[in-house]
């Protein structure tokens, strides 16, 4: 170290040193944030739209539903194709956040996970087609999770029962909410 100054250990110099470091860091982060924040916002919207598009590829427009947060109507030429509902359900580690797609007569089209913290290579098997395809075309009354394969029921992923349950319950709740909403608005 090249500090040979007599006043080198004064409280003032130490404080100044730390303050300057923190200030410099603050300025750098602020500048980077100022530059990247608008781009990140665009990306976020794009990613959300993309996951909606993947669920309902035929739809041409997605319009938010009044009074419901993160609910969308998927439409094509003014005709209602599907409802998209944001569901959040407690999984093995934190919440699994996903879009649930449902037909106007409240049958599952599919789901798309937006964020999760499940065990990689194990829990996330429950987001892959092998498990996910079981939901297609089912109403909420038919969403029952079993561990050993049974006709007409949802078979859980081996070793990932909790994640399977989270997905099943998330979809179930979304459909129940949807029915409530549709009955109210009738």
């Amino acid at each position: 170290m090249t500090h040979t100054d007599h006043n080198d250990n004064s409280m003032f110099r130490i404080t100044l040193n730390l303050t300057l470091a923190a200030f410099l860091s603050g300025v750098i982060i602020a500048v980077v944030f100022y530059l990247t924040a608008p781009i990140a916002e665009i990306q976020r919207i794009k990613m959300k739209e993309q996951s909606m598009k993947e669920l309902i590829p035929e739809a041409t427009s997605f319009s938010p539903i009044q009074g419901k947060e993160e609910w969308f109507k998927a439409e094509k030429d003014g005709q209602l194709l599907a409802y998209l509902i944001l569901a959040s359900e407690k999984g093995f580690d934190g919440h699994v956040k996903m879009f649930v797609g449902a037909t106007p007569d409240q049958k599952v089209i599919g789901f798309k996970v937006l964020s999760h913290k499940e065990t990689p290579g194990l829990g996330d098997q429950a987001f892959k087609p092998k498990f996910a395809d079981q939901f297609t075309g089912k109403g909420y009354q038919q969403l029952e999770l079993v561990k050993i394969q049974e006709e007409g029921k949802i078979t859980a992923v081996t070793g990932a029962t909790i994640t399977s349950r989270a997905v099943t319950n998330g979809i179930k709740h979304a459909l129940v909410e949807l029915e409530k909403y549709l009955n109210e608005s009738k």
Binding site: R13, N17, A22, S25, T36, S115, L122
Partner: protein, 210 residues
């Protein structure tokens, strides 16, 4: 030539995970498959190199009494900037690494290299040291990740290697598997080093007899 030595020492001789035994936490948590392990390794390589450059550049200005907080500020700034840039330009990768990124700030290996190496050396060697240590860390992560993914899931880098007849032992993918795999690798490295040493002693003794 000297710079090359600074680079290669991080790969095996001073491998951060297996030899220095620093940053075992990510080596356990983020190595259940190769993809995550590689992503984490490259992230750490980037942060460690940037931080070594930054610490080495300012090494004569930083007051020794507050050096550790200043290093941490420097690491935190680099990680935050990396997160912001990733979020804006590579949102898919950001989503994958999201929860681990903020943990990078407290990885022991990064602070250790700042304190042990960057604070005492010029910018170029510090940068090379960071690259080498980062590469060694990545190598370690990918090794552990590869073993765990092949045994625990029957696949490598997401490609299914073993057929449906293979029933993978789940424990390898869960946390205990990480401990076991790291333990075996360190054990194997120690054993090979011991063998090498014995061999050298033997040849030295033989040379003495003649």
């Amino acid at each position: 030539m000297n710079l090359w030595k600074e680079f290669t020492k991080g790969l095996i001789a001073e491998n951060p995970i297996f030899r220095l035994a620093l940053s075992l936490c990510p080596a356990l948590a983020v190595t259940s498959n190769v993809y995550n392990a590689l992503g984490m390794g490259l992230t750490v390589m980037f942060v460690i190199t940037c931080n070594n450059i930054s610490v080495s550049t300012f090494r004569n200005v930083i007051h020794p009494k507050v050096r550790v907080p200043v290093y941490i500020i420097s690491i935190a700034t680099i990680v935050t900037v990396a997160m912001l840039v990733l979020e804006a330009f590579l949102p898919v990768l950001f989503k994958e690494l999201g929860i681990y990124l903020s943990l990078v700030v407290v990885f022991a290996i990064i602070l250790a290299r700042a304190e042990v190496f960057a604070a005492k050396n010029k910018v170029i060697p510090a940068m090379v040291d960071g690259l080498g240590m980062g590469a060694g860390f990545t190598l370690g992560m990918v090794t552990i990740g590869g073993i765990r993914e092949i045994i625990g899931n029957g696949s490598f880098f997401g490609y299914q290697l073993l057929g449906s007849w293979y029933h993978p032992p789940l424990i390898v993918i869960l946390a205990p598997g990480g401990f076991i795999v790291i333990g075996f690798i360190i054990g194997a490295m120690n054993l090979s080093e011991k063998r090498k040493k014995e061999k050298m002693e033997k040849t030295a003794a033989a040379g003495g007899n003649i």
